[in-house]
């Protein structure tokens, strides 16, 4: 019998263990399973592969995917990943650990989560951060539930229609089953409409609003007066944000938000077809005990040494069971480490520089595209950073096809009939000029 690298059992080992247990063969250990449920015949699986075969097969599959220069954002951004990050996050002691239940031998995990929480608070300006959530859309869904839990007996949550489509869809799914009614605040003139918000609030029963700091058209929104209007109605303001951009635009705290959520992907996490990413959440101190997810706190050990532990666990599912605000048990720990290492390397100035290059590049691209005469600007003069939408004057299908053929993923169709573009610091002037040239030729 050929061995298998993940099973250390020799035949002699198996026999001596069976002898100690007092049964004849391994099958006897399943004697309590009704016979009809023991699978007969082979499983419909492929034959086992050796490691070189697995490597070749997976390389083949990876090769079937297009390798394009990414000029699309829409919730997943092709920012640069410093080499240090995969090096650190692939260290076995981080990678192969479980959730830090035994804190005495998990100080590594607990410390970086504490650092992560500190950085989320720094970026968002909020008082308290949890240890992370699955992704941005689920963080928004958790914020929706939290708004309802914090504003007794209110069951309606407003969503700005400027939120990215996938965020809206996930929040709607959670709301449907959680028994929360969703209302919508439309976008007027390129931003979440303040008067429409006031009209919705006047109808009553609103627990909160989720609004994007930068909306699906790439426009940096002005939320002046939002917090006051919501607080006057005893409702919460939830800001959905791209954390990378918070180095330069107003933080959720500066807008008066009660909860800040978003996706940490823009902090150096590879696109990877949508995951793993990491959701973040920061809240005002008064809502700390309604916040879902793990939280790490600082304390001391018996000898007075600084130590870190999971804390405020009485909020969580394993203690509160059906009364918990959320069913979340873990977090997205390794991705929180990813983001923490990224922010450590970039520092405040690096993050500002990422925004500067991306923003300057995006404006350069937009100006050049407008100069081709093939687009209308649906939101002239509106402030944006790395992302914008244009209205093509003719059907964009041919242009998109030729861009793909030339190695570009750009001009993504939106629900509104626009095409969207995004430029990060990874895109060069030559790439942008090349893109514009292809559009011109169309």
């Amino acid at each position: 019998m050929a061995g298998f690298p993940y099973f250390p059992h020799t035949e002699a080992d198996v026999q001596s263990m069976l002898d100690r247990i007092g049964v004849k063969k391994v099958e006897d250990l399943y004697a309590d399973v009704p016979k009809e449920f023991v699978k007969k015949g082979a499983y419909a699986l492929p034959d086992a592969m050796s490691e070189p075969e697995v490597r070749a097969w997976m390389n083949g599959l990876a090769g079937m995917n297009a390798r394009l220069k990414v000029f699309v954002g829409a919730g997943a951004y092709d920012h640069y990943t410093p080499s240090v990050i995969p090096y650190i996050t692939s260290r076995s002691e981080f990678l192969t650990a479980y959730t830090p239940y035994q804190c005495e031998i998990s100080q590594g995990t607990l410390r970086y989560i504490f650092e992560y929480q500190s950085m989320v608070c720094e970026l968002t300006g909020m008082d308290i951060s949890n240890a992370s959530l699955y992704d941005g859309p689920t963080a928004a869904a958790e914020a929706m539930k939290m708004a309802v839990a914090c504003t007794k007996k209110k069951t309606r949550v407003l969503l700005s229609q400027g939120l990215l489509p996938h965020v809206i869809k996930v929040v709607e799914t959670y709301a449907k089953f959680h028994g929360v009614e969703i209302g919508y605040v439309p976008v007027m003139d390129g931003q979440t409409c303040p008067n429409c918000l006031k009209a919705e609030l006047a109808k009553g029963d609103v627990a909160g609003l989720i609004a994007p700091e930068i909306n699906r058209y790439g426009i940096v929104e002005d939320h002046t007066g939002f917090a006051d209007a919501l607080h006057a109605a005893k409702a919460l303001l939830v800001e959905y944000c791209d954390p990378s951009t918070l180095a330069v635009i107003k933080s959720p705290a500066e807008w008066g938000a009660d909860i800040a959520v978003g996706d940490g992907q823009s902090l150096g996490i590879p696109l990877c077809f949508g995951g793993p990413y990491v959701g973040f959440m920061g809240v005002k101190k008064e809502y700390m005990r309604k916040m879902p997810g793990r939280i790490v706190g600082q304390t001391t050990d018996k000898d007075g040494k600084r130590a870190y532990v999971l804390t405020l666990q009485a909020r969580e599912q394993h203690i509160k069971r059906e009364k918990a605000t959320s069913n979340i048990c873990s977090n997205e720990s390794l991705m929180a480490l990813w983001v923490t290492v990224y922010l450590s390397l970039m520092g405040p100035e690096g993050l500002r520089e990422v925004n500067r290059i991306s923003c300057d590049g995006a404006h350069y691209l937009k100006d050049a595209l407008m100069a081709t005469g093939q687009f209308e600007d649906p939101f002239p003069g509106k402030p944006f950073l790395k992302e914008f939408v244009l209205k093509p004057k003719k059907f964009p299908g041919m242009m998109q096809k030729r861009l793909e053929e030339a190695g570009y993923f750009a001009a993504l169709d939106t629900e509104e009939g626009y095409v969207s573009f995004c430029v990060t610091e990874q895109r060069t002037k030559e790439e942008i000029d090349g893109l514009v040239q292809i559009v011109k030729e169309g």
Partner: protein, 468 residues
């Protein structure tokens, strides 16, 4: 493991940088309107690349992972995480894919999903899987949404209750509540199995379904599973399989064949993807044929779930193939029974008989209590294990026993490792009998001693600036 006492913020020095970005060759864009600009300070660390690498390397050395040593954490299936999985998941052809690229650009990725769907269906006996959920609890929630969706689509709106055994994972009630369902608990028998007679009166037309894990959280196979599924189906309810305990059934028993309609798998448990210190995981949800129509409307994560984790699990399945699948289940059960038999002379075994991949002791037989000396508890045993280079088992779960100590060895541990663990567990039991204080003061040589958790909860310090 050594103690290292720095936070990255404490290494910061103004003017240091750890990044390297291309020169900005674009004309300056117009400045943002003042009202939209950040005015608040941004006190992120300013450190060099070397600072960062040394700091996190030092932090990692205060951690214990599967690659460090034996990790018999019950219900968590801490098996070895193969390295080829990591290699293939890092291929640029996968990591560079934007999630909104259309099918023509992502043929390889879509094939991974198709092949995984086929493989998981073959392993579990389900019809189809959704890969959106990012964790086990997330899968559980999604599965319950599907359960509700099924009844809603049939116009059957009065089904608001879900039955769970009293031994269920703590997430079950929380997931049900988030999904707008009410929990009804059914008692277990003395032998640790669901009490079928107690189940019968709970079943009526308000029951949406029942959640079970089989083997259950005591590691025992629910021998009356056929009767239970027939009863629940008989009143129009659905059976949900919590896949947290799927490992012992790999290659031997399929949840679909036992009559389950919906289930989730934890790819980070059963399919060898690393736990990452608490995520990212992946919790795909499988459904039987009559529930496939309920899947499309349910969107629980941004794009396509945790693709990077799914890739790792796929590589594992390719390595296993049909030839090795059965060994996963068999060896996990063999190892658990072996440990149980070897240790039941020193630890209380509340329920005799064959277990599956894990089992539960109810504390020490002799905890060393005498006169005014308190006996050693399960917590003390767990902490003492750390001194010997083993991770602790799961403790104080399930709630059925006061001193629960739940041990799951998995199939990737050698007899030598397991024997070393057994020896240490015996040694700890002897220490307890002699002087329980040795255990009560443990760990003695971990990076920290036991921390003051009460102080942490009473005066929460949750970020660097709180601590200053």
């Amino acid at each position: 493991m050594k103690y290292y006492d720095k936070l990255i913020f404490e290494l910061s020095k103004e003017g240091r940088t750890g990044y390297s970005l291309p020169a900005n060759r674009f004309p300056a864009a117009p400045e943002l309107p003042v009202a939209l600009r950040r005015e608040a300070s941004l006190d992120l660390p300013e450190v060099s690349e070397v600072d960062v690498v040394r700091h996190y390397t030092n932090l990692s050395q205060m951690n214990f992972g599967v690659d460090t040593g034996f990790y018999p954490l019950g219900s968590c299936t801490m098996k070895y995480n193969p390295k080829v999985n990591e290699e293939v998941a890092a291929l640029p052809g996968f990591t560079g894919l934007h999630p909104l690229m259309h099918a023509g650009l992502t043929k390889g990725a879509l094939k991974v999903y198709q092949e995984m769907n086929k493989a998981l269906a073959a392993i579990t006996g389900m019809e189809a899987f959704t890969f959106d959920p990012c964790a086990g609890a997330h899968g559980e929630l999604t599965g319950l949404m599907i359960m509700r969706q099924y009844h809603m689509m049939r116009g059957d709106l009065k089904r608001t209750k879900v039955i769970v055994p009293d031994s269920a994972h703590g997430t079950n009630p929380a997931s049900a509540a988030v999904c707008g369902l009410e929990i009804v608990e059914v008692k277990s028998l003395e032998n640790g199995r669901v009490d079928v007679e107690a189940l019968k009166p709970l079943l009526d037309e308000t029951v949406a379904g029942m959640m079970m894990t089989n083997p259950n959280t005591l590691g025992l196979f629910e021998t009356q599973i056929k009767e239970i599924t027939e009863l629940v189906h008989g009143i129009g309810g659905l059976m949900y399989y919590d896949g947290a305990n799927m490992n012992p059934l790999m290659g031997v028993v399929r949840p679909g064949d036992m009559g389950f309609d919906i289930m989730h798998l934890n790819l980070h448990k059963t399919f060898s993807t690393p736990h990452g210190g608490g995520g990212p995981g992946s919790g795909p949800v499988g459904v039987a044929a009559h529930l496939v129509d309920c899947l499309p409307d349910i969107r629980v994560s941004g794009f396509h779930g945790n693709f990077g984790v799914i890739l790792r699990a796929y590589a594992y399945i390719l390595m296993l193939g049909k030839q090795n699948l059965k060994k996963v289940g068999q060896y996990s059960v063999l190892s658990a029974n072996y440990i149980k038999e070897c240790l039941k002379d020193a630890y209380k075994l509340p329920i005799e008989g064959v277990c599956k991949h894990e089992f539960v002791f109810d504390g020490l037989i002799n905890d060393g209590a005498h006169d005014d000396v308190h006996g050693a508890t399960t917590l003390d045993v767990a902490k003492r294990l750390l001194d010997f280079g083993f991770h602790a088992p799961t403790i104080y779960f399930p709630l059925l026993f006061h001193q629960a100590l739940m041990i799951e060895p998995t199939e990737t541990e050698s007899k030598e490792t397991i024997d070393a663990f057994i020896d240490v567990m015996h040694k700890i039991a002897e220490e307890a009998a002699e002087d329980p204080r040795i255990l009560q003061e443990a760990p003695h040589n971990a990076p920290i001693k036991r921390p003051d958790e009460t102080a942490a909860a009473r005066n929460p310090i949750l970020k660097f600036k709180d601590a200053q």
